[in-house]
């Protein structure tokens, strides 16, 4: 490195060079304008101001709050509050309207379905699925078979008080453990299960005495499920003649159900959700498609 020559001028462009040279290639001096530098300083000042005004530095167990006291949480709360105000009229209207009237009014129906969909996602989705598609032991709410009744009022009642919980208003009625409790002799259970299979128009696997199965069914099951196995929503006895099975319709699963009984539960929602929300949920579930 020899003496530097900062005032060297490039002969082609007539511009001065920075004096830097790499393998004969020289760098032209094309400096930024001063104001650019000032913008940079202004950004620094802005940054300092921002750190003072807004939450910025993480501390051990909290953070610097900033003098403006801004928090994104507050913003959400303000937004939610204003949303509530916006919905206010409609929610008040829904609270006083009957469920059937909500379904008849296009505007109310739209709001109720939107509100119900959101509430369903957070509260009901974990068991019934986000689309209410259900799963083994959690009913699909889109179909047209209802264990506890699919009318608007029945759905509303079920959502309010739930199923087989401590609330006296809740739906009651277990499927007994016929096998375990010795109500039906163990050897007879496959026979009654085979008969149940025939109720939905299918053929049982083995060669069993269906007449005996029918007799067993009439003695033990018909009181809840009905003589023809059509079910009874009053006691939550499902229809056994259809294509829809909550726990599975194959013989093996039916044997298991008869042996050990079933007793799915659902929590109480009255008091946990606002009245309008429960109404919206009832309308939403009813309008999924299977409502009666």
């Amino acid at each position: 490195m020899a003496a530097h020559d900062t005032n060297k001028v490039d002969t082609v462009t007539g511009m001065s060079t920075t004096g830097h040279e790499w393998d004969g290639i020289q760098e032209l001096n094309t400096p930024l304008p001063r104001w650019w530098l000032w913008l940079f300083y202004i950004c620094i000042v802005w940054g300092i101001g921002y750190v003072i005004a807004y939450p910025a530095w993480p501390l051990v167990s909290s953070y610097t709050k900033g003098v403006l006291g801004y928090a994104s949480r507050d913003q959400i709360e303000t937004d939610m509050a204003s949303l509530k105000v916006q919905r206010g009229d409609m929610v008040a209207k829904m609270e006083s309207a009957s469920l059937a009237d909500i379904e008849k009014d296009p505007k109310m129906l739209e709001v109720a379905r939107a509100l119900g969909k959101a509430a369903f996602g957070t509260n009901c989705g974990p068991c019934h699925g986000q689309g209410a598609q259900g799963g083994p032991s959690y009913p699909n709410l889109n179909d047209d078979q209802w264990i506890w009744g699919g009318s608007l009022d029945q759905i509303y009642q079920t959502i309010q008080y739930g199923i087989r919980n401590e609330n006296p208003e809740s739906r009651q009625g277990p499927m007994p453990a016929f096998g375990k409790d010795g109500i039906i002799p163990k050897a007879d259970i496959p026979i009654v299960a085979a008969y149940v299979v025939t109720l939905s128009g299918r053929k049982p696997e083995g060669n069993v005495d269906l007449a005996k199965g029918q007799k067993l069914f009439a003695e033990n099951c018909a009181s809840c499920h009905g003589d023809a196995g059509k079910g009874n929503p009053e006691v939550g006895a499902p229809n056994l003649t259809s294509n829809i099975w909550l726990y599975g319709g194959d013989e093996k699963t039916i044997i298991e159900t008869v042996t050990n009984g079933r007793g799915g539960v659902m929590p109480v929602w009255a008091g946990r959700l606002e009245p309008a929300t429960i109404k919206a949920l009832a309308v939403y579930v009813h309008t999924l498609g299977g409502g009666q």
Partner: protein
């Protein structure tokens, strides 16, 4: 290279890292291009400032402002056109068209956009005109700046200039907000201080940007901030017309007297008399005689300046003129100049513009007042009913773009004997139903389509929904699918299903 020859890296403070701004005092000029620029300035600013006040009657339920961006109601009105948010692709189309036109302009005549149409150029031009009117032309302004004396007159001039600048800037911001609300109403609200705060905020922002960009930043925007000069350098070619100094004619430059003597003595003499008029009028401080360069916005003012000089000297004009790189080279070799406006590049751009324009025109003319969109339930994809039938559910959104409440018929087509239900709407036909949609509104519907077990053939069948305006008969169709369980479901015995 031996180590002795390698130049020493200089100390950091040896070279200026930041460039002091070169003050520019563009001189007034008269001529063809200046006149063209004034006309364009009047038209563009006139459109910008007064367009919001133009009325366009659409009917009782719609605003009567010709151009209106109605953000609260999410509508964009442009004369006979009304665009909904879901039709934003029209705006995309317009932007594509604008980009292509810019490319074409560039291929034909370089940076015409920069020189004549760019808002930065137009407003800066206007601000320079104000400055000249108050502080005088180039020489006067330079003298005043050099003297640096702050007497009463100079202070008064400065105050006046900045006041007028701020007023123009304020009007610019004011016109901007008028595009977002009913202009006459908003003007009334603004002067009585009843307008929404956001209107004042936007006026303040645009006043600031206009004042600082056109009053203070000026050519700095073109030199340091704008990406277009860089992009256009990549788009141009040797056949594009650019403002150019004709070396073959101008050099060697010498004073008028010397040139005369030289010509008498039969020696070569250029036409350029080195009077620097071209530099004096340049709004970006460029010496065009150094060739095409980034700083030149191609405004043509130096052409006017030089033509005036040439006229005085009795020499032919056009020493600085629109010319192509290719011709510059040809002239050097004493060849005839050629102009090739029609070439692959310009043809392709023109074809693309015509294509995009035609597609948009078609989309516009075939567009009607009816809109429909469908969203298939994804979870569950289908529902098996107690009797084995399969049901699919859709969220269907119907749109009535007309300005009155209208009856529509919604029907399902493409399936054999489907059961069709629209939640909350009484059924009027086996596969169709009538419903009402309010003026300029959409309505969301839950639609159920059910097929009996015996009729199900495929896992995925095509289905369409058609919405027909009963009043004018126009209709729209949306395609979707009908899903069913896997396998040969229709013959399947229900052995196992874990619901």
């Amino acid at each position: 290279m031996s180590s002795a020859e390698v130049p020493q890296a200089p100390h950091d403070d040896d070279i200026p890292l930041y460039e002091a701004r070169k003050e520019i005092y563009p001189q007034a000029v008269h001529g063809r291009f200046r006149t063209a620029k004034w006309i364009i300035l009047c038209i563009t600013l006139g459109v910008y400032y007064f367009l919001p006040f133009v009325r366009w009657y659409r009917g009782p339920n719609a605003p009567d402002q010709a151009v209106l961006i109605d953000l609260p109601n999410r509508r964009f009105y442009f004369f006979f056109i009304e665009i909904w948010p879901q039709e934003l692709y029209y705006v995309t189309g317009l932007l594509v068209l604008a980009a292509l036109i810019l490319f074409l302009m560039n291929a034909v005549a370089g940076r015409v956009w920069c020189g004549y149409l760019c808002p930065q150029t137009v407003w800066t031009d206007l601000f320079y005109a104000v400055e000249r009117m108050i502080e005088g032309d180039r020489r006067e302004r330079m003298q005043k700046a050099e003297r640096g004396r702050w007497d009463l007159e100079r202070i008064a001039e400065k105050i006046l200039k900045h006041t007028i600048w701020l007023m123009i800037a304020w009007w610019t911001g004011g016109a901007w907000v008028l595009y977002f609300a009913d202009a006459p109403t908003l003007v009334h609200e603004l002067v009585t201080f009843q307008a929404p705060v956001v209107a004042y905020v936007w006026i303040a922002i645009l006043t600031f940007t206009t004042y600082s960009l056109a009053g203070w930043m000026r050519e700095q925007v073109c030199l340091y901030m704008c990406p277009w000069p860089r992009i256009q350098a990549a788009l141009t070619d040797e056949y594009a017309l650019n403002v150019m100094y004709r070396y073959d004619r101008g050099e060697p430059r010498m004073s008028a007297k010397k040139a005369e003597a030289a010509r008498k003595a039969d020696e070569s003499a250029g036409d350029c008399v080195d009077c620097f008029q071209c530099v004096a009028v340049c709004p970006t401080g460029v010496d065009i005689r150094n060739g095409s360069q980034l700083g030149c916005i191609q405004c043509g003012l130096c052409i006017d300046a030089c033509d005036n000089v040439m006229a005085k000297l009795g020499r032919p004009g056009g020493l600085i003129a629109y010319d192509t790189d290719d011709n510059a080279e040809r002239r050097e070799h004493h060849e005839e100049p050629v102009y090739r406006i029609i070439r692959a590049r310009t043809v392709i751009y023109t074809v693309l513009i015509a294509l995009v324009g035609a597609v948009m025109l078609y989309a516009f003319t075939s567009r009607n007042n009816v809109g429909i969109s469908a969203l298939h339930d994804r979870n569950p994809l289908f529902v098996k009913l107690a009797d084995g039938a399969i049901r699919n559910a859709y969220t269907i959104r119907v749109t009535n773009k007309s300005l009155d409440t209208r009856p529509f018929r919604l029907e399902v087509i493409g399936l054999k004997e489907p059961k069709f239900d629209v939640i909350g709407v009484p059924q009027t036909g086996a596969t169709s139903t009538l419903l009402e949609v309010g003026p300029d509104q959409t309505r969301e519907l839950r639609v159920l389509v059910t097929l009996p077990k015996a009729l199900i053939r495929d896992e995925k069948a095509d289905v369409s929904f058609r919405l027909t305006d009963i009043v004018d008969g126009s209709s729209a169709i949306v395609r979707d699918h009908f899903f069913a369980p896997e396998g040969d479901y229709h013959s399947q015995q229900d052995g196992h299903h874990g619901q």
